[in-house]
Amino acid sequence: MKDALSYWSPLCKLVLQLRCWVRVASREGTSTQEGPWGQLLTVPTEGYLETPGGLIPLQDVEWIEVSTSRIKGGIAGRPRQMIDAKDEILACLRGTQLSWELRESVWSVEGVFEEEPVQVVRIVS
């Protein structure tokens, strides 16, 4: 458990520091459950990851995707605009022991936009 904690902690710090959008996939039996996108990633107590989709036992985390973009506007009548944060994110990731890869994916933020293509960094457990 301590290993999982030390593994994911740098990512939590990165996500919160850079206000990244993330989603977490967890193991549920033999299947994988993909959570919603959000900006919460923290370890509230030993053994748990608090994610946009709720609490997930650390040992159940399969992968975490970090969007390389952030969002400007999109609510309150403001036009939506994507902000490229890829370089910032990758620079931080390179200083960690995390296993990651760049992937093409889709990104949804309920009520704001649906299934937009986005490049993500996927970190596997």
């Binding site: 709720g54 969002i71 309150a76």
Partner: protein
């Protein structure tokens, strides 16, 4: 009070446009002003009664700036909750020097309780900013209003004294003052409070905002079942309070009558504080020793006890100790010291029911791990059963807003749990965590920490599948989105049902998340 803070509070209370019009005499007709004040008069009085009487701490909080003083704001919110709780529950003369009845109101102080924290959103819908920040600031707004009221009274008193007519402030004179645009004063104040202050002093009483004093109030939310002792025997002669000419204390009638109001309110306030202080001592006691518990009581008393402020009240206390209102105020002060360890009394159950936020705020995490047996078991108070009770593990717990007074968590939230519930402990705090008296306060702090413009906030109610986010009856949690000062979209979660961590047998109270993942609990 600085203009900026007043403006913030005013806008929160009235809305930006309305506030601007209120403060622009060129754009505001007297009709508009009157209508606004009529509409808000009852609220103002109720708020003033509790929050205004909180005295120095509240004013300091406002003067210091809202953003920079959230701890002080929390104190005020607690004060509001206490006042609300006491107003609602302390209706028995034997438990209080003053008798109250509650005609029920959701205005003003009530806004600090958890019952109005936006759970009315439709499932999955996106709501506009639902006013929590305004409610969180409502207690502060009361200070604005009461200071305006006091300014108005003082100004009128000055006018009257200068003209040598201060003992005969007639309705016509008030009209003239209104016509002259005196701040905080409207003609409608004469009767809007439903006053019967004393037939020949209606106008004066109305100006002072003394409508709760003789039981004929309408619209202020509660009334005091004690007739203001407008006449008192003193030194063998009958003294009429409120008539400066006969009651020759060197102060104007207005100042004197204001002192009466303050003294009555102060007495009530202190009685309420004593109950909270005693409660805190009770709950701290099992963890510490008698000395520490007593110190806790004194600390609460010192922080929240009310000291007379106005010249009128001080004068009454100094020079007319035989007056019944002075004696009763003194009794309330004494009351602060002798109700510390009334274990098992109905007051504990009443306060736990009415003001769980106050209890939790005062006691912090310890409150969640203490069982006060007997105090809330089947409690009936004034013929009323206090809330739904929850039987488990051989004990009965009082449940309020989804959690028990001693906050026993269920898998995912706070309710019944099959096993191990009673032994659960609260999660150790992490950097940045902070406890707040109400959800509104926590929400306001979250917005500040995330640097979110409140006017851009959208709240989505979530039901989802994660059992660790839902309440025991499937109560939802929320996602809050808003734009920060850079225009960037920020999202944070409101885990309104707290969490239970089964692996570690720990729980966390309901909370909003801060930008560093911290928990802003309430």
């Amino acid at each position: 009070m600085s203009y900026g803070i007043t403006k913030v509070i005013g806008e929160a209370q009235y809305g930006e446009d309305k506030w601007d019009r209120l403060n622009d005499s060129n754009q505001t007709s007297s009709i508009d002003r009157n209508a606004t004040f009529r509409e808000d008069w009852g609220k103002t009085m109720l708020r003033s009664f509790g929050s205004g009487l909180a005295g120095g701490a509240a004013s300091v909080a406002v003067r210091g700036g809202v953003r920079q003083n959230y701890s002080a704001v929390a104190m005020d919110a607690l004060g509001g909750t206490i006042g609300n709780s006491i107003a609602a529950e302390m209706a028995k003369p034997s438990t209080s020097p003053y008798a109250l009845t509650d005609s029920s109101s959701s205005v003003g102080l009530n806004a600090n309780t958890r019952s109005g924290t936006g759970l009315s959103f439709s499932a999955g819908g996106v709501s506009a900013f639902d006013g929590r920040l305004e409610r969180g600031l409502a207690a502060q707004a009361a200070n604005t209003q009461i200071e305006n009221d006091i300014d108005a009274v003082n100004e009128i008193a000055g006018e009257m004294e200068a003209s040598g007519k201060y003992t005969a402030l007639t309705r016509q004179e008030i009209k003239q003052l209104v016509a002259a645009g005196k701040p905080g004063l409207t003609e409608s104040m004469h009767y809007e409070g439903g006053l019967d202050f004393q037939r020949d002093r209606v106008e004066r009483g109305a100006i002072l905002g003394a409508n709760p004093l003789n039981g004929s109030s309408s619209g202020s939310g509660f009334v005091m079942n004690q007739t203001l002792p407008f006449s008192e025997q003193y030194d063998g002669r009958r003294v009429r309070i409120g008539e400066g000419g006969e009651y020759s204390n060197g102060l104007s009638a207005l100042q004197t009558a204001g002192g009466v109001v303050e003294m009555l309110g102060g007495g009530l306030w202190n009685t309420g504080v004593s109950a909270i202080a005693g409660l805190s001592g009770i709950v701290v006691a099992p963890f510490t020793d008698m000395e520490t518990a007593t110190a806790t009581i004194h600390d609460v008393q010192n922080r929240f006890g009310y000291e007379l402020q106005s010249d009128g009240a001080k004068d009454l206390a100094d020079r007319f100790a035989n007056l019944s209102i002075v004696q009763k105020y003194g009794q309330s002060k004494a009351y602060l010291g002798d109700k510390g360890f009334e274990i098992g009394g109905p007051m504990l159950g009443a306060l736990g029911y009415s003001a769980p936020d106050a209890v939790l705020m005062l006691l912090g995490p310890k409150a969640t791990n203490v069982t006060v047996k007997g105090a809330i078991d089947g409690t009936r108070y004034l013929g009323r059963t206090l809330g739904p009770t929850l039987d488990m593990m051989g004990q009965r717990f009082l449940v309020r807003n989804g959690y028990a007074l001693n906050a026993v968590p269920e898998g995912g939230s706070f309710g019944v749990r099959e096993s191990g519930a009673g032994s659960a402990t609260r999660r150790l705090a992490t950097v940045g965590d902070k406890q707040f008296p109400t959800a509104d306060d926590a929400f306001a702090e979250a917005l500040v920490r995330h640097d979110i413009d409140p006017s851009t906030v959208e709240i989505t109610t979530m039901y989802g599948k994660n059992q660790n986010l839902l309440g025991p009856q499937g109560q939802p949690w929320e996602i809050i989105r808003g734009l920060n000062s850079d225009g960037e979209l920020i999202q944070f979660e409101h885990h309104a049902n707290g969490h239970f961590f089964s692996d570690t047998n720990e729980f966390e109270l309901p909370h909003y998340h801060g930008p560093n993942g911290e928990h802003l609990t309430y």
